[in-house]
């Protein structure tokens, strides 16, 4: 099968790649571009471990084709920190121990960033429903919700 040439922007940098027409954006990120921060937990859009932001919209990158990234803006976990300065969400996840095994963490951070961009002052219930597309099997979500609440208050004050 002939490859599709794609030109896109990932975390602010221009990227060009060839991918197969049936190849997911998740596979392109992980296998072609070496951006393995997005994880494949299910491949069917049920776990959110592969969450990325595509033109300001939160998506599961396992449900997007690599070819669909043409001319669009992709944000992944690799672009969340600025140099060695962590994003407030990253910092609060560390402080609250909002991760145990950490496999779901990149997806949660991306989803939480998207949530706070749209709703900077969410209630606990809004956080819980906003993050309901991301599965965590280790924490019971308690410390994740607290980390997002704490990050939201820090970001409001900034």
């Amino acid at each position: 099968m002939a490859g599709v040439a794609v030109s896109t922007t990932i975390n602010g940098d221009n990227f060009e790649y060839l991918c197969q027409p049936d190849e997911t954006l998740l596979d392109v990120l992980r296998d072609r571009l070496g951006l393995t921060g997005a994880k494949e937990g299910c491949g069917t859009g049920d776990c959110g471990a592969c969450s990325i932001i595509l033109d300001d919209r939160l998506v599961c990158s396992c449900l997007v084709l690599g070819a669909e990234a043409e001319g669009r803006r992709v944000e992944t976990i690799e672009g969340m920190a600025h140099g060695d300065t962590l994003h407030p969400l990253q910092q609060k996840f560390l402080e609250h121990a909002a991760l145990q095994c950490g496999i779901c963490t990149p997806g949660f951070l991306i989803a939480a960033k998207d949530l706070l961009a749209k709703n900077p002052d969410p209630t606990e219930e809004e956080i819980r429903f906003g993050l309901a597309g991301n599965l965590c099997r280790c924490t019971g979500y308690d410390k994740i919700v607290r980390a997002v609440q704490d990050a939201a208050s820090v970001m409001k004050g900034a």
Partner: protein, 752 residues
């Protein structure tokens, strides 16, 4: 080495604080490398062909078409994994589970595998493999499988543990019995008796990271394996044995692990990946899909349990009995045996008897899941205990306090308890504000207790002091939830230096001696014991170097707060030497300074927890909502309290999912119908409330800091606590887990 593991009652500087974990930044920036994040130059993609049948004889496998497909570099079947198990029945089962030899024993059982240049070619090749099956009758239900008329999975199995050796083969591999006293006499003294039967369905550990590995076998007979596992040393032994290698020739590196919960203690794909790599002469990466994870890895037992408990009017239990039937999948296990041991472990009983039956079914081979077998037994027993308290007219907490095991109690599974936490957790629950929170219409409160043995095991740790005075700690227990932070705290505590100067890593199998896997809640318990031992050995050398520097007897040098101090008035003018100063001079005083430890961490203290849960039930739909949840558990000593809380909360959440939603659903054809996270629904963020925790610290006398394992006990009480809450909310005793909306509705309708 004369290491004294006894609890010393010391006060702590580092242990008990809550620093940021050493692997944290990598995990929040996406840089941490998990099983599927590793690649090797020239690697191939491995894929596995799986049986679509629950039970079938494999007449013939024709791989010739697949082998001819361009881009296919190796195709293997069981013939490429010859039986080298030498009469070791357990290893033979592992081999057969990795690749079916004569029969496919469950939907999803591996029958062949390919390695190809890319995933598309590998998938195409699987379709070209022709398997000639003779489909056989199957059985997936644990009670059905015990009937004499059930299809036999293995006609060479005759039930062990019966008084008379059976003449006919059976799906029941073993009967076990525990207890003491005379239950007939005990029931004779009872004023009230509760007798009930319970069922629980099969669940999966549900780790978010599918199994993944990269295998690279060289033609010189050496190999490397990168893999997500709870125990890379155990994986090395199993893989080496199955492939006919010397263990030292196989280096296994454990990746970061994306959840295990017991499910990554067994090899499945790894021997297959190694066999593919050996045949292809290239590295092979093998990653399971989620569908494969559900169909072929995990899961727990499904169970069927009968419980009978009798008590006097004053609330004293006089006799307790349980019969427990646990599914094992198609291979012998000891799951019912563990259930039978744990069932009544919370109580002080004069007359108790439990009997376990291990049952073969056409489902995936049962794997450990966090305190394996205990949650189901606790569900049955704690439900009956609640019902009995109600019949007597006692408060369920008071009833349990009256019958709780204590120090000196002979446990129902044999040993006599040392200092234990069941009583204190109950007292803490009794006075917890949660018990006074108001309940509304259709709402109910339930509580339940849980027990887990905990495990210690073989452990090896290296502690190396750099010339700058910083410390490298190499451990062999995989970090499943923050243990590198805990172990760094322990090293800092023992050496008397700051946490920031310790860096803990999980060493590969060629860099450290053997370690048992991270199971039985042993990670922090056993590796902290080995770390303390290693640090004490390093301190001995540090003292020797100081003595040498000062030219005084080493007996006059003590170690305090990170410094060597010359003790005695005659040394009044000698300034203390810091660890850093001694390390800086080490090149001139005898070379590198290190402490090593190899030990069997005996004396893992048993662990108890009591949970409280408030539930609201919608009587129209049968749906439930968890309103409040509280965990009270004994940690012995919480090394990093935040991660201890995390273990409590995570176990509770998994228990909530098990209690309310999660189950394997098999069709009449014996095929799994819900092999994805959409239909096998684990709790999401909006399903749960905050989970309150209370850590009790009743020191384990067999650990220098009093540490007990904390990881598993938290999944034991939830099934029962939630069942008691639902039963209290709707006034109907729930006896079948999960209490999904259809099951609750059916229970309500049966009552009407």
């Amino acid at each position: 080495m004369n290491f004294d593991p006894r609890y010393s009652g010391r006060s702590f500087t580092s242990v008990g604080t809550r620093p940021i974990r050493p692997d944290g930044v990598d995990k929040v920036t996406g840089r941490a490398r998990y099983g599927a994040d590793f690649n090797m130059a020239g690697q191939l993609v491995g894929r596995v062909l799986r049986s679509p049948h629950a039970h079938a004889k494999i007449r013939k496998i024709d791989t010739s078409k697949a082998e001819k497909l361009a881009g296919v570099k190796a195709v293997i079947t069981a013939a490429d994994l010859p039986d080298l198990t030498d009469g070791d029945a357990a290893m033979y089962d592992i081999l057969d589970n990795c690749m079916a030899r004569t029969k496919a024993l469950y939907d999803g059982h591996a029958v062949a595998a390919v390695a190809a240049v890319d995933a598309r070619t590998a998938k195409q090749a699987l379709k070209l493999i022709e398997v000639d099956y003779e489909v056989l009758p199957h059985v997936t239900d644990v009670d059905e499988a015990m009937k004499h008329t059930a299809p036999l999975l293995n006609d060479a199995i005759f039930t062990e543990g019966l008084e008379e050796k059976p003449v006919k083969p059976s799906n029941v591999t073993k009967r076990t019995q525990f207890g003491h006293g005379d239950i007939h006499e005990g029931f004779g003294q009872a004023d009230f008796v509760v007798e009930r039967s319970f069922k629980t369905e099969q669940t999966h550990q549900g780790y978010i990271e599918p199994h993944a590995c990269v295998a690279n076998v060289s033609s010189d007979g050496t190999a490397d394996l990168w893999v997500c596992t709870q125990g890379h040393f155990v994986y090395r032994q199993h893989c080496a044995q199955l492939l006919g290698m010397e263990a030292s020739k196989l280096r296994v590196t454990s990746s970061e692990i994306g959840g295990g919960f017991g499910g990554k203690t067994h090899v499945w794909a790894e021997p297959v990946a190694l066999a593919l790599s050996r045949k292809a002469g290239r590295p092979v990466k093998l990653v399971m899909t989620r569908d494969e994870v559900f169909r072929a890895s995990g899961p727990t037992s499904a169970t069927s349990i009968d419980v009978r408990i009798g008590a006097r009017k004053d609330g004293t239990i006089t006799a307790a009995e349980a019969t427990l039937r646990y599914s094992c999948g198609p291979y012998a296990g000891m799951w019912a045996e563990i259930g039978a041991m744990t069932a009544f472990a919370c109580y002080k009983l004069e007359n108790v008897k439990t009997v376990g039956y291990e049952v073969l079914v056409n489902r995936p081979k049962t794997a450990a899941y966090r305190a394996p077998s205990a949650p189901m037994a606790a569900f049955a027993v704690e439900s009956a205990v609640d019902e009995l308290a109600k019949e007597i007219g006692m408060d369920p907490v008071d009833f349990r306090i009256r019958n709780a095991a204590q120090e000196g109690t002979r446990s129902s599974y044999g040993p006599v308890y040392g200092p234990i936490g069941i009583g204190p957790t109950l007292e803490a629950v009794k006075s917890h504000p949660h018990m006074k929170a108001p309940l509304g219409k259709n709402q109910g409160r339930g509580m339940a207790c849980g027990f887990w043995f905990n495990f210690g095991g073989q452990t090896c740790t290296d502690l190396n002091i750099g010339m700058d005075g910083s410390v490298s700690l190499a451990v062999g227990t995989v970090d499943v939830g923050g243990s590198r932070a805990s172990l760094s705290l322990v090293a800092a505590e023992e050496l008397g230096i700051a946490y920031e100067h310790v860096k803990a890593v999980v060493a590969d199998t060629s860099s450290l001696g053997y370690n048992d896997m991270t199971d039985g809640s042993r990670g922090t318990f056993s590796s902290s014991m080995a770390t303390i031992s290693a640090a004490r050995n390093a301190i001995k050398i540090l003292r020797e170097r100081a003595a040498q520097t000062w030219d005084i007897p080493v007996e006059d040098v003590v170690w305090e707060k990170g410094h060597a101090i010359a003790k005695g008035e005659k040394y009044g003018n000698l300034a203390a030497l810091s660890l850093r100063e001694i390390a800086a001079a080490s090149g001139k005083t005898g070379g590198p300074i290190a402490g090593h430890s190899e030990l069997v961490a005996d004396g893992a203290g048993v662990s108890f927890a009591t949970h409280i849960c408030d539930i609201e039930v919608d009587p129209e739909t049968g749906s439930t909502r968890v309103l409040r949840y509280t965990v009270v558990q004994d940690a012995g000593k919480a090394v990093h309290p935040t991660y201890v809380e995390g273990q409590y909360q995570g176990g509770a959440a998994q228990g909530i999912g098990w209690a309310l939603n999660e189950e394997y659903i098999y069709g009449k054809d014996g095929r799994l119908q819900n092999s994805g996270f959409l239909d096998y629904r684990i709790p999401v963020c909006s399903d749960l409330p905050m989970i309150d925790t209370q850590i009790l610290e009743i020191p384990n006398p067999n650990h220098p800091y009093g540490v007990r394992g904390v990881g598993e006990t938290s999944i034991v009480p939830p099934l029962a606590a939630i069942a008691n809450a639902v039963s209290n909310a709707v006034g109907v005793r729930m006896t079948h887990i999960p209490m999904s909306p259809p099951r609750i509705l059916a229970a309500l309708e049966a009552e009407r």
